[in-house]
Every structure is written in structure tokens, then in C-alpha cells.
Amino acid sequence: MDLKGKKVTLHDMCLRDGMHAKQHKISLDEMVAVAKGLDDAGMPMIEVTHGDGLGGASVNYGFPAHSDEEYLKAVCGAVKNAKISALLLPGIGTVDHLKMAVDCGVTTIRVATHCTEADVSEQHIQMAAEMGLDTVGFLMMAHMIEPEEILEQAKLMESYGANCIYCTDSAGFMLPDDVASRISLLRKELKPETELGFHAHHNLSLGVWNSLVAVENGANRIDGSVAGLGAGAGNTPLEVFTAVADRMGVQHGIDLYKIMDVAEEIVTPIMDQPIRIDRDALVLGYAGVYSSFLLFAQRASKKYGVSSRDILVELGRRRTVGGQEDMIEDLALDMAKEQGKL
């Protein structure tokens, strides 16, 4: 694979996707420390939001230690060069949240929908584009549909005003060919000025490799998180990606040793559990399940005495999508009843 001279913009997810792994309880001091470390290492973009995006604070997804507003203000005020982004899932957050985030200093809005439901993002993408923001359409669970179908949805988001489209492997299910076919088709058919991004989960240990494949096929933005802090087995570990990209001659703009230090000294110490491919995270990737379901399934398993693997496999079989966390307890109750445990 020849990526020599290609330019990528890395986007760190520790303070958004990592919120899932921390049950949304990262402290303000921790956020600021991570953001400063990343900023100093040359990370161009950092996402800061509740794991489920703006307005995600809820019984269903978990209440965060602080509000989106408090987090965003703290981080935006602490960085010198990095641009701060916020995630917004229509159906959870609204344009009111979007405006709040912009008031806090956010310059990139990423509007995320399930890969078949792009048309719910029209209000939000239009407004973000009108406000002159870097506006990203973020198609989640992109493994669930064919490349041609993804393209159709991407074109909708592009038509609303998105200047960048993400193909998001929320379940960490995609194989390298799945990435290549999707990204290459988007690159061929979308406007040449529309940027392309790829967001991985490391559930099958393919985060780094799939991200390289995405770059090879025309993506120029790559999500990941330092030390992998993210849902499931985490996101593409960015210090690893940076080292590989460095050896392949990709232009990434990151200070490798500094980002290694952030991973080792700032991010790893705040983890509640090691971010690794444990049995349940592997099941996410194998069965194509939304990565943030991991801890919910483990908690339901403990509470109702049913196997977390069985819960996750069944959620995959039912083709659940991001946001359906409420199904997990409901399903665990059904399974416990069936097994005579309730």
C-alpha cells in the first residue's frame, strides 16, 4: 500500500466516544488535561460531547458528570490550536444544542444518523452550514447497507450542506474490503471538494488497518482516540495510527512522542477498565452491534443473570441501531423470564 505524501487530518474521540467507556463521567480537569496534551501534540481536531452527542444526558444513555456546555467551555478555553467539534444525533439533540455548542466555541458540527436515515439531519446540517461551520454528515453503522445505498444517503447530506461525509463503522464490523468499496465509491461520486472521513471501532483489531485502507481510497479525515479510549474495544488508537502513518510517509502533523506520552501518562490512567478486545467487545465486532451497547449489556447481564454475549448476539440479530440502549434491559428481562430466572 503506497500512501506516501497523502495528507490526513486526525480527529480525536477520547472526550466524546471515550465518554461511553467512562459512563460519561470524565471530570472537567481530566478533559482539560487530555485536550491540552492533544493540542500540544499537534492534534488538529478534538471532539467533546456526551458520548451520545449533544443533549445525550439521560437515564437511557447515562447522565454525565457535567453538562455539554460546561465541558465545551472548559476545553475550548484550554486549547491553543486544536479545533473543537461536537456530535449531534437528531432525535436526541436539537438545533438549540447546536447553537449552544457554537456559543461555547465549537467550529465543527458532526450530525450523525443511522446510515439509512440521513433525511432526519436536514434541519441540523442546513443550520450548521448557514452558520458557516465545518459541517460533517456522519453515517453510522455503515456496514449494514451496500455502498450504493450509502452513497444515496451521503448525497442527501451533501445536498443539505455538509462539506464532509463520514463512513462510520460503529460496530467495528467492517473488513478492509468493506471500507475500500464504500470510501472509493463515495470518492468517485460525491463532489470533489467534499471531504471524506472514516471512523472505526477496534473490535476486530482492524482499526488501524481499516483507517489506512480508507486513506488509500480517498478519505482525508481519520477518527480515532489516543490510547483507544472509546466505546467497545475503543476507536483506532491514534498514537499507533500515527506511528504507522509516519513510517508510511503519510503527512499527519502530529508529534509522535508527545502523543505517545498523552496516551501513556494522561489517558490510560483515567480509564475505568482496560480498553481491549475482551469477549464482549469481540462479539460487537463479530455480530455487528453498536459499540456503546457494551457496558449496558454487561450491566444487564449482572443484574438479570443472563449472558452478555447472548444479549449482544440477539441485539445484532434484531438489527438494532445506535440509540436503542433501552432495548438492552428489555431484552435481558425477556431472556431472564424465558430462562425461568424471573
Binding site: 439521560s58 437515564v59 437511557n60 437528531p90 432525535g91 436526541i92 436539537t94 438545533v95 438549540d96 443511522h114 439509512t116 436515515e117 433525511d119 432526519v120 436536514e122 434541519q123 441540523h124 434484531r318 438489527r319 438494532t320 441501531v321 445506535g322 440509540g323 436503542q324 433501552d326 432495548m327 434491559e329 428489555d330 428481562l333 425477556d334
Partner: protein, 304 residues
């Protein structure tokens, strides 16, 4: 039996057509007009076949003869953006507006919770909140009538096929209006609404999860009883309204897992979200109709 009260349906889409089929069975309501904006729309053609007067010129196409046709109740099944104009025009001619859009310019009505109060107030515009609101607010109210609910949150999961272009374009209005209804009708101090759209095939039946946080320890027996009673009330007009699991009690959290299957009149059974809207809208109109028949309420023109 008193003469039925004549009604018009604005919006010949899925909701309007399902409402029409239900209204044709009503003992109190007689649908006489179907109003659309697209001349060759299948909904208008169907209404015409069923013997209704139709127009493709919007509400303006009906207004000139609305009074002589005896229309006293209108249903708006269009979108939040055009609702205010529609409502103003029919109110001016003395017809009550039942609003099935999330515009929410009139007071909310969730039949098993506040139908009587809403009708007694004799409002000329009454709003049906949202599909998610109709499916979940009765459960919030079932808990809040037992004890104080400081926070009510609902998650409505609907199939892609049942989420029409109106809902999709106005998804923020859905979350805002539903959250507002959780507070004002459901009785929670603070409300939050989440909607998830799932494209799985075959389409999933509408699912609703209701989470309440109570101020004090939940009175489990009283809440169970209240929830069961409320379900019976909703089942009077939506027989497929079912408790799947719960109430689950976890500290001060009370979680209720519901499934809503529709009647399958015009919309498929999985679209319980749409069915519960049309059924609630019709039930509200029937209550108004009974008040009109009994001479307790006379809709009067509202000056613009």
C-alpha cells in the same frame, strides 16, 4: 341518536387516510371533506371514492362552502409549518381544530389523561402532542398521579417505514413538543424525549420506554396498579397498547417498556405510532362532538 357532527380532514397522507377510515366507523363524527394540495394524490382519490368532497387547493378550496356543508370539526394532519394558517382559517369560520401536527399552538390533549379537562376548556384548537407523546405520556401520568416525578424521559423507537416526511423534516419539533407534554400533561417536573428510527425488515412494532425518576422511594404496589389501570384506559381506543416489561424499580428510577401495535386500518399494524395518533385525535373529536350534540358547547367563529 343525535345527528353526527360533520368533520373535515386536512392532509390526505397516511395519517389523514387512516383517520378517515376510523372516522367512517364513528358514532359521533361524519367525515365530509378531505383537503389536499396535490391534485393526483392517491389519498384524495380514495376519499372521493368513499364519498367525501375533496379539493387539491388546500384549506382555501374548502372554505367557501365549509359552513353550508356543516363542518364543525377539522383535523389537521399536515405539518407544523402550515398548521397555524390552517387553524386560523377554519377557526374564523367557527370550526374546532384538532391538531395532529407537532405545532402545538393549542393546549395538549392526551385522552386518558386530560381529555375531559381539554374539552371542558372548550378550546377552539387542541393539539395531540406527538405519536411518542400519545404512547408514553399516559405512563408518565400513571406514575405522577401516585407520587412526585422529578424527571420523565421517554424513548420512542419507530420503524423507518412509519416515519413520514413530516416527522423527518421536523424531528426537533417532535423532541421539543413531546418533552413539553411530558411536563404539562404527564406531570413530570422536567421532561426529555428521544426518538430512534430503525429500518429493520420486517418493520418493528413501535416500542416505547418510559423512565421516571421519583422524588421519594417509589411506592411499587401503587405504581404497578396505576400503570395497569392506565393501560386499560388507553386500550379502549388502541387495543394493541401493551406492557412488555416492568415497571422495573431501581432506586428512584421507574422504567416501563411498552409496545404499541396499531389496528391496521390503513396503516400497517407495526405503525402503532401513527395509529395511536389518529385514534387519539378521533377520540378527542368524538368527545367534542358529544358536547356539541348535548348543547353544552357551540363552536363560535374566532376573530383573526
Amino acid at each position: 341518536m343525535a345527528e353526527k357532527i360533520k368533520a373535515a380532514i386536512i392532509g390526505p397522507g397516511n395519517i389523514g387516510t387512516d383517520l378517515l377510515i376510523k372516522a367512517l366507523r364513528s358514532e359521533y363524527i361524519e367525515p365530509v371533506w378531505m383537503v389536499g394540495v396535490v391534485p393526483d394524490s392517491p389519498g384524495l382519490a380514495r376519499a372521493q371514492e368513499l364519498g367525501l368532497k375533496t379539493t387539491a387547493d388546500g384549506v382555501d378550496g374548502m372554505l367557501p362552502t365549509m359552513k353550508e356543508d356543516g363542518v364543525q370539526i377539522c383535523f389537521d394532519a399536515t405539518s407544523a409549518y402550515v398548521h397555524a394558517e390552517n387553524s386560523r382559517k377554519v377557526n374564523e369560520l367557527g370550526a374546532v381544530m384538532i391538531d395532529l401536527t407537532p405545532a402545538a399552538i393549542g393546549p395538549f390533549c392526551v385522552p386518558p389523561v386530560n381529555l375531559k379537562a381539554a374539552v371542558d376548556a372548550q378550546a377552539m384548537n387542541v393539539n395531540m402532542v406527538t405519536c411518542g407523546g400519545q404512547a408514553t405520556i399516559p405512563m408518565v401520568a400513571a406514575v405522577s398521579r401516585v407520587q412526585k416525578v422529578t424527571y420523565g424521559e421517554i424513548v420512542a423507537t419507530v420503524s423507518s417505514k412509519s416515519a413520514g416526511p413530516g416527522t423527518r423534516k421536523n424531528i426537533d419539533e417532535f423532541t421539543r413538543t413531546t418533552a413539553n407534554g411530558i411536563q404539562t400533561v404527564g406531570g413530570a417536573d422536567k421532561g426529555k424525549a428521544i426518538i430512534v428510527i430503525n429500518p429493520a425488515e420486517p418493520p418493528l412494532i413501535m416500542r416505547d420506554t418510559i423512565h421516571c425518576l421519583t422524588e421519594d422511594e417509589p411506592d411499587q404496589d401503587a405504581i404497578r396498579k396505576s400503570v395497569d389501570e392506565m393501560i386499560v384506559e388507553v386500550q379502549k381506543y388502541v387495543p394493541g397498547y401493551k406492557l412488555k416489561n416492568g415497571p422495573v424499580f431501581d432506586g428512584k428510577r421507574v422504567s416501563i417498556f411498552m409496545e404499541v401495535e396499531g389496528l391496521g386500518d390503513f396503516l400497517p399494524k407495526y405503525a402503532g405510532n401513527l395509529d395511536i395518533m389518529t385514534a387519539a385525535g378521533l377520540r378527542t373529536a368524538e368527545m367534542y362532538a358529544q358536547e356539541i350534540q348535548a348543547g353544552r358547547f357551540e363552536p363560535k367563529p374566532v376573530a383573526a
